[in-house]
Amino acid sequence: MSKQENQEFEFTVLVEGTPAQLLAVQKALKRVIKETMAAESIQSAFIGHAALGNTASNVMLLPITSATTH
């Protein structure tokens, strides 16, 4: 049994707050993934968010790269 093959993982965060609070959450999410990307072998990562009323399918996912800054 192997658990080591690469798969697509989705981390969904639902948050209630002001736009500033959402931004803080977004930065935290992005920071954790970028730190992990730097330390581990990660093929690709994307991040995005949608406001209230939008469906998840409307979320525009942008690539995260090690060179990306907040």
Binding site: Q7, T12, L14, Q21, A24, I47
Partner: protein, 174 residues
């Protein structure tokens, strides 16, 4: 997506139970097919000397648990989205969904999950956020985890499942 609670339980489980809990769906399917085939040819015990019919029942039970967990996760997300869309857009504070999709192995995903839980908990405290829910899923898998994030308080998916089942029972009038 394992946590300390699951690991603690695993320590006192049989090897079969541990395997059932950690095997992928494809592995369970493959094992079920092999054992069913062996049973067809009159074999009664597997390589470990276990009764094949008992093992098949255990595999079916594991499938059932995973379906419950998958349903619970889908229910949690749909409930959250339903509650999000029921609030007027002009209301403040607003509610948002934030997604990160990562291609990596399960160990790295688990590291991200644990780190996210800590960091999001800190963010909640630092920015006065009162409601934050994190769900983790992976492609083609029913081992899912959907937990509320609260600063420094670990939760596990089985506790969430119990809560969701209780919620389902209440909302369905049972």
């Amino acid at each position: 997506m394992k946590n300390n609670h699951i690991k603690m339980v695993q320590n006192c489980d049989t090897p079969l139970q541990v395997w059932l809990r950690t095997a992928t769906k494809a592995e369970l399917d493959q094992r079920k097919a092999a054992l069913t085939n062996a049973l067809y040819y009159g074999v009664q015990q597997d390589e470990e000397g276990r009764n094949i019919r008992s093992v098949l029942r255990a595999i079916d039970a594991e499938f059932s648990i995973r379906q419950d967990l998958a349903y619970a996760r889908a229910f949690a997300v749909s409930q959250a989205k339903t509650s999000l869309s029921s609030v007027p857009l002009a209301a403040t504070p607003k509610q948002f969904v934030s997604l990160a999709m990562v291609v990596c192995n399960a160990d790295i995903a688990e590291k991200i999950r644990r780190r996210l839980k800590v960091v999001l908990g800190q963010t909640m405290v630092e920015h006065g956020i009162t409601a934050l829910h994190m769900a983790v899923s992976r492609e083609s898998d029913t081992e899912l985890d959907a937990v509320p994030v609260r600063p420094m308080r670990p939760h596990d998916e089985r506790v969430l499942l119990q809560r969701l089942q209780a919620h389902l029972a209440r909302t369905s009038g049972q």
